[in-house]
Amino acid sequence: MNAFFNGEIFKDSLWLLVQQLPIVIEVLVLGLICAWTWGLILSLIRLSRFRPLRYLAGAYIDVFRGLPLLLLFIFIYYGLPHAGIKLNELTSGVLGLTLCYGAYSAEIFRAGIQAIPKGQTEAARSLGMTGGQAMRYVILPQAVKLVVPPLTNEFIAMIKDTALMSVISVPELLFTAKEKMGVVANSTPLTVAALIYLAFTIPLIRIAAMMENRRRKSKPGGKPPSGITPEAEKKLFDSDIAGQVPKGGEGW
């Protein structure tokens, strides 16, 4: 027991790791903003009416959903310098998160946008709105509400995946705990790191569960008022949103 929980080392490690939190949070916040922005752009391209761009976005999404994030980090940090591109640890970390989670977010946004009934776009277009205006003022505001729960789950996954950055020397929690472990020859720093991860992830897991419950309860009749079909909603909330090629010629 002492190997995993030594009071003195615990205090030491806690202080050490808490000091690293700003870096973790910086990577996370930047990664989140970049990944969601990139994901939204990708999803809009994927649903646009320009076929070549649509396929390109689809290919990107498939590739980056299919690659291990660890490989991506290593490629960016250790691989790219061979091509003369040298990025520092933090930039590499944010870039890796953006590339990978952008692809996941794109699928979430796409499902959210497609869950909005077609009649909404038609009503907007019939009022003279352009496709872009309909998307911006009518579709996205509704889609964003729908994607909050899946994006919360994505955020949880991203928090955990910051640990992968230990291989590219980002001084995040796991990296710092491992170093400390070597110094003190004891596993307590790892325990501390675990507790800190949980302090962030468990509240989010609870929030995600609460949103899920509220969604279930809020529709006794089965059909939500906005006319989003139960099938479309289910598709959206299924943990793995399978990549589907959007219907041809239906771009906005």
Binding site: P117, Q120, A123, R125, L127, G128, T130, Y137, Q142, S226
Partner: protein, 260 residues
């Protein structure tokens, strides 16, 4: 190009300044291999209320959606107030601003209240100021009898109220003509009258309207022309009262005998 209903206007094609509002010339529309519209000719003049009836799947909705360019067409011409909707220099968004449309399923924006639903297009499309848009919107909500529901979300309104907000929303763009696609079909029977009432007073104010409906009473009382569609073509058209009383085509007779 059917000219039999507009003997008082200039020769084809319609030019601005005449009172031809909508002109469909041999319009063909297909979804894949399914030919939905097979050569529709239709001319609607200013102030006319054209009522369109026909069995489900005959292409009524598709025709309305072709009139405002929500559906691309494969052949033919759609001319709105003298402008070719598919012309190389035509901006369909501009044309749609002049054509209001109301749908069977209301399609109100659920994230906006009644007032905001009506204000949105004048603000975002016509770049009107918030104050101006709000003045227009409140005025219209008042006209459709919903002044007290301005702050209500669509989900808090009855079907009939939602549909009246939808009509106000379309009117907020000050359109030159209105398209109605079975706007009372999704309503409980007791709510149909309030919506038809709004449409009737709109017609009496001189609005040009194309109304797809099963309400034969409305066709008889308000319609200036009745059109029977089947299988993607116009089978018969004429004066509503005459046509309902004595339809000429067997298909029209059969259909009317079922709905009356």
């Amino acid at each position: 190009m059917s000219s039999k209903f507009k003997d008082d206007v200039s020769p084809l094609p319609a030019v601005p300044g005449t009172n031809t509002m909508i002109e469909l010339v041999n319009v063909h529309k297909s979804f894949g291999h399914l030919d939905v519209l097979q050569g529709i000719n239709l001319t609607v003049t200013k102030g006319e209320v054209v009522v369109v009836i026909g069995p489900s799947g005959s292409g009524k909705s598709t025709m309305l959606r072709c009139i405002n360019g929500l559906e691309p067409i494969q052949k033919g011409k759609v001319i709105i107030e003298g402008e070719d909707l598919h012309g190389p220099r035509t901006d369909p968004n501009k044309i749609r601003q002049r054509i209001g449309m109301v749908f069977q399923s209301f399609n109100l924006f659920p994230h906006k209240n009644a007032l905001q639903n009506v204000m949105m297009a004048p603000m975002k499309v016509q770049r009107k100021s918030r104050a101006e848009a709000e003045r227009i919107a409140r005025d219209l909500l008042d006209q459709v009898g919903l002044a007290d529901k301005a702050q209500a979300l669509p989900e808090e309104l009855s079907g009939g109220q939602q549909q009246r907000v939808a009509i106000a929303r379309a009117l907020a763009m000050k359109p030159d003509m209105m398209l109605f696609d079975e706007v009372t079909s999704a309503l409980d029977p007791e709510l149909v009258a309030e919506v038809l009432g709004v449409m009737q007073s709109l017609a009496e104010s001189g609005m040009t309207m194309v109304v797809v409906t099963h309400e034969m009473g409305f066709a008889r009382e308000v319609g200036s022309r009745l059109i029977f569609m089947d299988g993607g073509v116009v089978v018969e058209e004429g004066d509503p009262r005459e046509m309902i009383a004595s339809p000429k085509e067997p298909r029209t007779q059969k259909f009317l005998s079922m709905v009356l």
